[in-house]
Every structure is written in C-alpha cells, then in structure tokens.
C-alpha cells in the first residue's frame, strides 16, 4: 500500500491525519491485509454470498405518519443552530 493509495482512502473517508499517523496506519493496514489474505485459500466458486445476519425478507410496516415530538435533546448536541436549523460553514466560497 503506497502513500497515494492511503491518501485516496483518507479522502474517501474524510479523515485528516498527520504524516506520522499516515505512516503508522499504512504499516498496520499492511499487516492486517496480509493476515486476512488467507481467505483466498478457500475455494468459494459458486457459493452464494451471505449478505446479512438475518433470514428475514421484505419486512414492511403500515405506511402511517408518526409525528415526533420537537426534540430539544437533538439540538443540544449540535455545535451551532439558528432558528431551529443546523448551522454549518459555507459550502461555496
């Protein structure tokens, strides 16, 4: 795994790291990927992937509106609000 690849992953995951932290995470990831590559030993030709933990399918509920109470707790945790809206820095310069 080279630095270009790590930078790409950090970009996708929206995480900023120092160059020291980048080095450490690169070497950790290499070790982990080296360990998990043992899966390639197993022949899985024609095996249907198990996509989740559940056997349930198409769980539906009545299409009804449930009004939720105005929740101050939700707003309490947000750094900045104005007139009931979440306030964020500008997206366009």
């Amino acid at each position: 795994m080279d630095s270009k690849e790590i930078n790409h992953l950090l970009e996708l995951a929206r995480i900023e790291l120092s160059s020291q932290e980048k080095e450490k995470i690169t070497s950790d990831l290499e070790k982990i990927l080296d360990y998990v590559k043992q899966l390639q030993e197993l022949d899985t030709t024609g095996v249907e992937p198990m996509t989740g933990g559940t056997l349930l399918q198409n769980v539906c509920r009545e299409d009804e509106i449930h009004k939720q109470k105005e929740n101050d707790q939700l707003k309490n945790s947000v750094l900045d609000t104005e007139e009931g809206y979440f306030k964020v820095p500008p997206i366009f310069e």
Binding site: A13, E16, L17, I32, P49, G53, L56, L79, V88
Partner: protein, 475 residues
C-alpha cells in the same frame, strides 16, 4: 441473584431506597480504582424512583421481578437524560436524543438505570483501553484489562456495583470481558433483541447482550429485552416452536456436547486448555455425552470478520460528520470540507480510524470482489459448518478466550495481537448463533477462565437451560 433481591424487597427485608444507596456506596468505594463508569445518573432522581416503588410495596401492591433493581448500560446505548459517548471524543457532549428499545423495556418493568459504563471507542477493541477517556481495570487484578469492548459493564457487575448490566456483542465484546472478569455474558441469536438506540458498529453482527452473575439472571434480563420492535426491521420474536421447547425440561445426560477440535489447537494458553478439559471431564462424569467434532472453516472466521466488520463500520460511522451529533470544540474551520476532515481526524481514536480506512479499502472499487464478496461467501461456508455440526450435537463447548486477562498496555500497540482475542468468539456473530460465557475455573493467581457454550440458531432458551445445568456442575 435478581430473584433474591426481589424477594428481599417484597418481604420488606430491604427497601428500594436502601438498595440504591447500597449500590451507590459500592460505586463510591470502588470505582475510583476500577473506573467502570463513564457517567452516573443523578442520585436524587434515582432515589425518587425508588421511593415510588417503596410506596407501592408498602401499600401491598405487587411489583415486577425487576422493579427497583438497579442496572447499568454500556455507553453506546441511548437513554433519555444521559449523555451517550460510545467512549469517543467525537460524542463527548452528545445528549441521547431518544431511548433504546432494550433500555425502555427494562425501565417499563421498573428496573432503575444508574449509570453508563466505559467501553472501547465505538465498541472497537478487546481491552477497554481504546476508550477515549480512561482504561477500566479488571476487578480480579487491577494491573490487568477487564476485556472489551464491554469492559466497563463486566467490571461493574464483577465488583458488585450493579446486579446486572447490558453490553453489546459484535465479535465477542460481551463474552470475552465476561470471561476476563469471571461472570456470565450471554450473546443471544442475532435479531432477537432490538438494536434501536444502540450506536451501530457492524449492523449484521451487533446484538445487545446481558452481563450477569448467574445464568438465571441472564435469562431473566433476556426475556425482558427480547422481541420484535418496529424500529428495527431485523428484529423478530423467537418462533413459537422454540418457545414451546423452552419449557421442555431436559437433563444433562440427555445432551451431546461437541468439542470443535480447531478450538483446542495452537494459540490456546496451556492453563486455559487444562482448566477447560477438567471442566469437560466433570460434565462428562455427570452423564453428558462428549464428542469431538470439526468446524473446518472456523480458522477463517477471524479473517472473514476483519473484512465484513470494518466494511460495515466505514458505512455506519459516516454519520459522524462533526455536525449532527456534535463534534470537537474550538477547531479552526475554514469551510465545510475542513469541518469533516478535522472533526473525523481528531474526533476518532487510532483504532476507529484504522477500521474505517480498512473498511473503505475493502469496499472500494477494484477490491470489492476480492475482499468483501469473498468474505461474504466465506461467511456462508462458516454458517453451513455450524448448521452441519448441530445436526450431530446439541451444543458446542469451547474456551471463550485463547488467553488469560492480559496486562494493561501489553497489546495496545499491536492491533493484530489484540484482534486475536476474539478468535473463539467471532464465529457465533458471523453465523448469528447464540453463545454464552460461563466462569469455569480460577488459576493459581486467581484469574478467571471462561467456558463458552454455543447453540444452534434460535436455540436461546435451550442454550440457557443447558448453561444452568453446566453452571451447577462446574462451579
């Protein structure tokens, strides 16, 4: 233990107020050292609840089994009126916006929430050292870790700061700390307990699970928190045929236990091996049949887990953007992009970042088939292995952890060594089957050894019944 406390309340040997004071006193006395709790519910509020219960008792009204019984929850479960940090800086000031279904079910029965316990950040770790706040210590030996990620809940129950606690188990996060602390930790079948209000780690593996002193207590708590919930579409009621079976009593001599040979090979601590073999001999001498079996793909379970779990993490933790659930204070932010990168870079600890990046990698274009799809196919093979083995035997007996509780700091710089802590527990999550840790022996240095009992999918009540029989034999 819960039944005894209930009886004492009903018989007026103790009041609900005295019970609360008793546990708060123990916390005050012991938690400076053990550090099991991240936050406590205000004592005044808790005492008011207890007073109401005492009034009911005094009027001669009936009370529920859990009414007035205090409990704690891992700090990744939302409970109104508490902060929920998940052990992370990024959620340091996050006020629970609603109530987890499992917590609501317990409160509806009159159980009293008294605190929220420490954990590895976002439940990622096997030692509770990854908490952004402080590590928790093992009550059996304060120089050692309590296991993780539900280490705070395990330590709180072990040191009798609460009669029971909830944890969450994604790859062993309840059973392994239960093993390290010498208590019971029960991971139910996937989907039997609602995940609503549990901060998601890996959604296809996560389940809320009780930590208790006895199997009977684990069953009592499980009965309350289990059941279908419209807020979690993967939850369901245990099917009626297994409900019927749960009432069918069986004896130890009716049972066949399988010993998967792969769980007793290299990597297993010699002392644990010896103690587990002694326990198995005791179980056999009581008339149970013991049979060596094989789960050929089990040695791939950890690798499979370390692809599926981080993949789900990378998606689940995308919601922590520094806006919606709060973020790091006093950052110098120029624009929105900056806000994301800085909050996530500084708000998440090293292990969380590692797993998000790993998950991003295995899901990224060009690698998806080689990693993620392959792991899902291996998951299917592991699941088939469990299905096959349960046609031969009723339950599996294995060690819960390959090592005894290790020293604080011993593995914190070596992620892969830490990951191996879960090698015997991840299989049950990959496959969705129920499993329980039972304390089975103590070493010369007074460290606990845990025995894991694994059952077939949806055999939860039978598994608990078998665990009660074994509990009597080995302790």
């Amino acid at each position: 233990m819960i039944k005894e406390l209930h009886q004492k309340l009903v018989n007026k040997e103790i009041t609900a107020v005295e019970l609360i004071n008793h546990y708060f006193n123990i916390i005050e006395e012991k938690d400076n050292q053990i550090k099991a709790f991240l936050s406590l519910v205000e004592k005044e509020k808790v005492l008011k609840q207890a007073e109401q219960i005492d009034e009911k008792i005094n009027k001669g009204e009936n009370i529920n089994l859990l009414e007035g019984i205090p409990f704690a929850i891992k700090d990744n479960m939302l409970a109104l009126g508490t902060r929920t940090t998940a052990g992370s800086k990024i959620l340091e000031d996050y006020e629970s916006g609603f109530e987890s279904t499992a917590v609501k079910s317990l409160k509806d029965q009159g159980a009293i929430l008294i605190g929220k316990t420490n954990m590895d950040e976002f439940a990622m770790g096997s030692s509770t050292e990854n908490s952004a706040f402080f590590p928790t210590k093992n009550p059996c030996d304060l120089t050692r870790v309590p296991g993780g990620s539900s280490g705070g809940s395990a330590a709180a129950v072990k040191s009798e700061m609460v009669p029971f606690a909830l944890g969450s188990d994604t790859g062993g996060s309840v059973r392994q700390p239960a093993s390290f602390c010498g208590i019971v930790g029960f991971k139910p079948s996937y989907g039997t307990v609602s995940r609503y209000g549990l901060i998601a780690m890996a959604s296809s593996l996560d389940i809320i699970s009780p930590l208790t002193q006895t199997v009977e207590d684990a069953e009592l708590v499980f009965k309350i928190i289990a059941g279908q919930d419209s807020m979690d579409s993967t939850s369901f009621n245990l099917p009626t045929d297994s409900d019927k079976k749960k009432d069918k009593e069986f004896k130890i001599e009716d049972l066949v236990f399988g010993l998967p040979k792969e769980y007793f090979q290299k990597g297993l601590d010699d002392v644990i091996k010896k103690k587990i073999e002694e326990a198995i001999k005791k179980i056999e001498s009581q008339g149970a049949k013991i049979k060596e079996v094989s789960l050929p793909t089990s040695s791939y379970a950890l690798s499979c887990y370390y692809i599926i779990m981080p993949a789900e993490i990378s998606a689940n933790l995308a919601r922590f953007d520094g806006i919606r659930y709060g973020g790091i204070k006093n950052l110098k932010i120029d624009n929105l992009r900056d806000l994301y990168f800085k909050n996530r870079g500084q708000g998440f600890g090293a292990e969380v970042r590692r797993r998000i990046i790993l998950g991003t990698h295995v899901l990224s274009s060009g690698y998806y088939d080689a990693y993620y799809k392959k792991a899902q196919q291996v998951r299917k093979l592991i699941n088939e292995d469990f299905n096959k083995v349960f046609q031969e035997v009723d339950f599996l007996l294995t060690p819960t952890s390959p090592t005894l509780p290790f020293k604080i700091g011993e593995k914190s710089d070596n992620p892969l060594a830490m990951y191996l802590s879960d090698i015997f527990t991840v299989g049950a999550n990959i496959s969705g089957v129920p499993a329980i840790n039972l304390p089975c022996a103590w070493t010369e240095n007074n460290l606990p050894v845990g025995l894991q009992l694994i059952g077939s999918y949806l055999s939860d009540y039978q598994l608990l019944q078998a665990a009660k029989l074994i509990e009597k034999i080995i302790i």
